[in-house]
Every structure is written in C-alpha cells, then in structure tokens.
Symmetry: C2
Subunit: 423 residues, 2 copies
C-alpha cells in the first residue's frame, strides 16, 4: 500500500490517555481512533494487526478440533435469569427495546452456548465437543482505562468445551493450555500460565495467561525463566522463595496483563439449563464444561506495551500490518528524483509480486528525518531505504526494526534478503 | 469435514418461523440457530457461507480502492444529537450504562465515520477517499420477521465515500453500482438496480439492489430481462408499459428483497460535523459524501429464497459451505463395508489434498434415503456417492445439486471432473 493512498496520518503527539503507552503509540501511528473512553475504532493499519492476531488464534483453535461459529451479541434476558446472573454481573449492558423486552449485550456467552450445544448433544457419542467464536464483546465498565487493554467494547475469542468425565475435561484443558502458549509465542509475547482461583464454580484452579509489563493491572509471583506463576488470590509460595522449576531463581511480584484465561466450569451451566447426555446404559448424565478466552484486541495492546522503544512500535513479524516499509529519500535534482521514483515503483512491484506486504512512503516534500521517524513509529519489521547515495552503488540500506541493525545490500541481493528475513 | 465431527445435525421439521423459507431451510440444515425473534447465531455450516459472502464483498470493495476498517458498535449519544438523529431514528437501540451515560448501538455509522475521516482529511489532496467495514449491526425492530432477512442483529457491509465535487461523487457512485452488480452475480443472485427516493438529503435518486423473490417485502416495477426497475415511491412508469431497455417486454410489479443500497448523502453529515477541506486556493469547501450498504447476512437468506427446491438448499458454488458432499452407502457385508470405508477415506484425503472443501458423511447406521435427503437439504454443489455397486465398476456416482443431473464416473476420472466443475 502507498502512504499517499492510506486514510490515516501519523501524529507527533496525542493528548488523550497519556498514561498508557499502547494508546499513545496506537493513536499516534493512526492504528486506532478513540470514539469514547474505552471505545476504539480500528483504522486500516490497526485492523491488519487485529486480523493477524485473529488468524493465529483461529489456526490454533482449529488445530484443537474446535468448530468456529458466531453467536449473537444480543442475548435473551430469560437465559441470564435462568443462570442467576442477570442481577449479579455488574458489567452486563442491559438494552431496552421498543417491544418492552430487555436484552443482554454479550460480555460472555455461557447463556447462549449451553442451550445451543445442548440442542445437538443427546448421547455419549456426541461428546466431547468444542466450539469457539471471535466476536465483539461489551462490558459496562465503571472506569475504562489503559487504552485497548480494558475497554467497554473489545474483540475476544471465547471457546467452550463439553465433556463426559473430569478426566476428559482435564485432558482437553491441558491441550488448550499448550495451544495458548503457542498462540502467544506466535504473537511475539512471552506469556506465563498463572494459577488463579477457580471461582465459585470449582475447587480447582483456573489459569490466567499473563504477559509481564508495567502496564499490567495484576500482580504475579514468578521468576524470569518460569513460564508459570501464582496470582495474589491463591499464592502458596512467597516472595524470595526459590522457583520450583528453576531453583537458582527467586520468586518476586511482577505486574502482568491477562491476555487469556482458561477455566473449568464443571456443571455450573449445564445444570442451569438441564443439559445432560445419555450414557451407554441409557442413563442421563451431567455434562462438564470448560471455557477458554483470549482478548484479541487486548493482545494487540499488550504487544505494543511489550514491543516498543522510544521511537515507536516494534511489531513482531507475525502480526505486523506490513512486512516491509519502503522509503525513498528525496533527490537533489529533478533527474535524480525521477530516477529514484522509478526505482521505488520497480521495487514496490517486485516485492509485492514476490508476495511481501509493503508499505511505500511515496509522499512528496518530506524530510528524511520525517520519513524515518514515521517508519520507526509505525514499526514494520524491515525498512528498505533507497536514495541517490544508495543507488549510486546499486544498493539499498536495510534496517531491522527489532534491533535497528542496518546494512547496505546490493539491489541484486535484496529479494533474497527479504525472503530469508520472512521465512 | 466429517459429519461425525460436525456439531450440528439436520432436523426433519422446525416449528419456528414456518412462514419463511430461508428460516425453515437454514434451521433444518443446522446453518443457524434462532436465539430470539430476529436474532440468530451462525453455526459452523452457516458461518462458512457468511464468510464466503464477506470474502466476495471484501474483494470487490478492495478493488474499488476502499480501505477496510472496523468502527465501534457503541457510539456516543452526542454525535447522534449533533446530527439530529438521536430522537428521530426509531430503530436505534439506546444503551444505558453504569456511568449514567447513554450509548447508541450502531444501526448505521455516519455519526462515527464522518468525524473519523474528518480527522485525516485536511486538503484537496486527501480527497477523494473511501472506507468500509463488515460489522454486526443492531436495529430495534418492532416486528422482526422473515428469518435472517430482517433481524434485530445482522452482518452488514457499509462503505462511505468523500468527494470534492458532485461529478466526482457521481463517478464513484457509478463505479460502486457496477461493483454491486458483480458482488451479487458472484453470489449467484440476479439483482436489479432499482430507482428509489433520495430521501430528505438529496433531490437525486438512490438505488436499491433488489432480488426478485416472493419473500420480498418491496414492490418493484420491472421486466424479466431488465436489470433496472422503479420502486413504488418514485415510479414514473406504470404496469404494462414497455420496458425502456427491452421494448418487447412489458413492466409488471414484482416482489423483491433489498440486498443492497447506494445513496448520495451530499453534505448532510459533513455539514453537521463541520467537515471541510482546503482547496487549491486555500478556501474551505464542503465535502460531499456517499454511502453504500450490503446486507451480508440478508444476502445469505436471499440466496436460500432464490436457490432452493422442495428437497432443500441449492448453494451456488461461490458461497457453498463445502464444494463436495461425499456419501457412502452401507455395504451388505462387513468386508464390503470395510472396503467402502477405506475408499471413502482415500477419496476424502485425495479431494482435500487437491484443494477441494469436502463434507464427508461418515455416520454409521443410516439408510441411503436418510443420507441422500441430508445431502439434498444441505445443498453442496457436487455430490459424490460411493457404494458396493459403484465400486464394483471402479466408479462413483456424481450428481450436481443445481440440476440433479447425475452420471457414473470412473474413479480414474473423478479428480479431473471435480477440477472441471470448480474452475
């Protein structure tokens, strides 16, 4: 894509939400727009990141054999009354209507998914089963803050599994845990699986997937190499203890952002809806459920918190809106400018033809400093710079955003370098 | 996908919404589930159709140079007050919150998109521009009916364009009109571009894209070969008149479903938000806007209304959840069944490896009649049937759902036939 065709422009400063790094950088780069406190629109560059995270999550959930569906955001009040949560979930938006009916606006989907799956699960042969969706959810937060980390409207993946036995639920729960580690690693995040309370529904732990950053609202007891941890509610270890898996490290309290959670619901919701199955003997048996969330838009914000420097965002290759940022510095004469423009166009075509996604800075009349500052702010993994100077030696200057290492590369070797960088 | 892995099952009858063919067939096939009147969840098979329609729409909007974004569903009341529509749009859901603020739940996005694009459009150099989104929308309908044709929650593509001059808006409007014909044709629908009132904002016509079916709520004056028409509000022609473009045909009133509309907003919203641009002389000028909608989920329902027979749905190839429905009839002996199962698995692997999407009926203990009835109901374009009888002559029976034409094909020629059928 050409920068002159892109709707958005970068901004040097933003006034809003100065306290949150993800909001600052996403707003300055034109990735999102704040519509209200806690409510963001995803602009073209930001939507590309969001879709990349969605794709990674979808691939890993599909690999678990879970089936994608899309449940309604509007939910019947009756279902929430049936589970006893209509008056207890304080972040539930309640929507009045012309018909005098009130609807729930989905912040979670147990009230929908349980009767939905119940309609198709009759016998032990229908179990286990698992479904998931990627959907916009709504929470009536009293205070929305931290940019896209905690909003009133956000994109979430929620998955629900259904089982005959505790052992089967446990086994699936462990597989989902492994898949979650893969999801976050593929998104460029180091997540830890943190023991948390199972809540009122279970005497088991649940697990939060936490990424350590100062923007986090949660406190986690962990150590640097440990991919596990304990949260404040359930901690049996204490600060200064040796890490159970890495005895040379001591545990300390760190701030974390919860990017996912997995939870055994047991029979909490199947009982509320009378969801049972017939076993081999024709006896009715209760169904055990698990639920598994990933905050898709929160992952994007967490990546920005975890992957940035003083110049801007450092997108991991897997989620970057574009792989390559192609920059041309202005020529000193009209002839030099014309030659440079021709080379830019040629390389844009060659790189996109070779399958790379390229953002080309084809804007007129900007200084080298302005162009390079924008490239740093927008954070594509590989910057390719063409100028009179580089073309004079039949070369481009390439720079990796990750470590800012740069080198001159002969144009003849440029395509191979790009291929090696993105495999 | 294997039918034994699929969450959903077909149903012989459904009690709900018996009046609407799309609801009946989509519910019976397990494509959707009705959560409440006018509110549906999209189950795995149905979601695949929805995504196929989305993909077609996205490709055509991208080809127009429009940029995809995702605006918030929650919208600030203040913006709706500013345009004067807070109290005049009766289908607008108004959502109260814990913070005492009220939000609008988006049924359309002029109130969001105008200030959003305004933030990035300063000069004539930034125009024209166009953005679109594919998003779940909400309408507080007093009466929801006709299955997924008119719901309280639905998926829609809405695009908004911004121009300097009426001539530029007119030219873009014409390009969008052409793209809309392509979208609907690619979805297997014959749409007509029907003149309708421009509403209060314009002395021009708007255009509705109408598909003629008895399920339609609108009345259209048109003729069989005419890809245009007039609606009741604006009709200057009358029943029995000769068709302007096909003089041998006479016009008559037909029922239609509106699957899309295009509309010139003029300065209605840019004026409300003070959106202007600086022209070459540095003078502030008003921005002209157009808006362009396609009801994505309504398109799915319209396809069912337009493409079905007494046995079930006849999905067009472009949107079918799977291309091929692979059926095996039960063998008479255990040996025959084992040989059949092995062949089924082999062909499932061969077809999916060759890039085809395949739904395989691997259920045990069903009669031939039950299997074939399900294949007809679910409506995949090509059915491949293996049985003792076909295997005895090294063949499969293939049947096209469209015209129910069937033939025996040698297994050696089966892959080539599939390739020829889906190019």
């Amino acid at each position: 894509m050409r920068l002159t065709s892109l709707l958005t422009k970068t901004q040097k400063t933003v006034s809003q939400e100065a306290e949150s790094i993800n909001a600052q950088l996403l707003l300055r780069g034109g990735f999102v727009r704040q519509e209200m406190a806690g409510v963001y629109s995803w602009l073209p560059l930001g939507l590309r990141v969001l879709r990349n995270v969605e794709r990674i999550v979808r691939e890993e959930m599909d690999a678990l054999g879970s089936q994608e569906l899309l449940m309604s955001a509007l939910q019947p009040k009756e279902a929430w009354v049936q589970t006893g949560r209509w008056d207890t979930v304080d972040v539930l938006f309640k929507v009045p209507s012309q018909t005098k009916k009130e609807y729930a606006l989905g912040c979670t989907h147990e009230e929908i998914v349980t009767p939905l799956v119940q309609a198709f699960v009759k016998s032990y042969k229908d179990l286990p089963t698992s479904v998931y969706q990627i959907q916009t959810k709504f929470r009536d937060e009293l205070r929305a803050k931290s940019g896209v980390l905690r909003g009133r409207e956000f994109v979430m993946k929620d998955m629900y599994s259904f089982h005959r036995t505790q052992a089967d639920l446990d086994a699936y729960y462990a597989r989902v845990s492994d898949a979650y580690f893969r999801v976050f690693a593929r998104c460029g995040l180091q997540a830890k699986s943190v023991e948390a309370s199972g809540g009122a529904f279970s005497d088991k732990f649940s697990h939060e997937f936490q990424v350590l950053t100062n923007a986090g609202e949660d406190r986690i007891l962990t150590s640097p190499s440990w991919n596990r941890g304990q949260n404040e509610e359930v901690a049996t270890l204490k600060e200064g203890d040796a890490c159970p898996d890495h005895p040379t490290e001591t545990l300390s309290w760190q701030k974390g952002v919860e990017v996912g959670n997995i939870f055994q619901l047991g029979t909490r919701f199947s009982e509320a809806f009378g969801m049972t199955y017939l076993d081999e003997q024709g006896e009715r048996q209760p169904v055990l459920m698990g639920c598994y969330g990933i905050g898709i838009s929160r992952v994007v914000g967490t990546i920005v918190e975890a992957c940035h420097d003083e110049r801007g965002i450092v997108w991991p290759k897997s989620v970057a809106p574009f792989q390559i940022h192609l920059v041309g510095l202005s020529g000193k004469t009209d002839e030099a400018q014309a030659a440079l423009n021709a080379q830019m166009q040629e390389w844009y075509d060659a790189l996109t033809s070779a399958g790379f996604s390229v953002l080309m800075d084809d804007r007129a009349g900007l200084s080298a400093g302005e162009r390079l500052a924008d490239a740093d702010l927008l954070g594509m993994p590989l910057r390719i710079l063409l100028s009179e100077k580089t073309l004079a030696v039949a070369s481009a200057e390439v720079q990796w955003r990750q470590d800012r290492r740069s080198e001159m590369v002969l144009l003849d070797a440029l395509l191979d370098l790009c291929k090696a960088s993105f495999t």
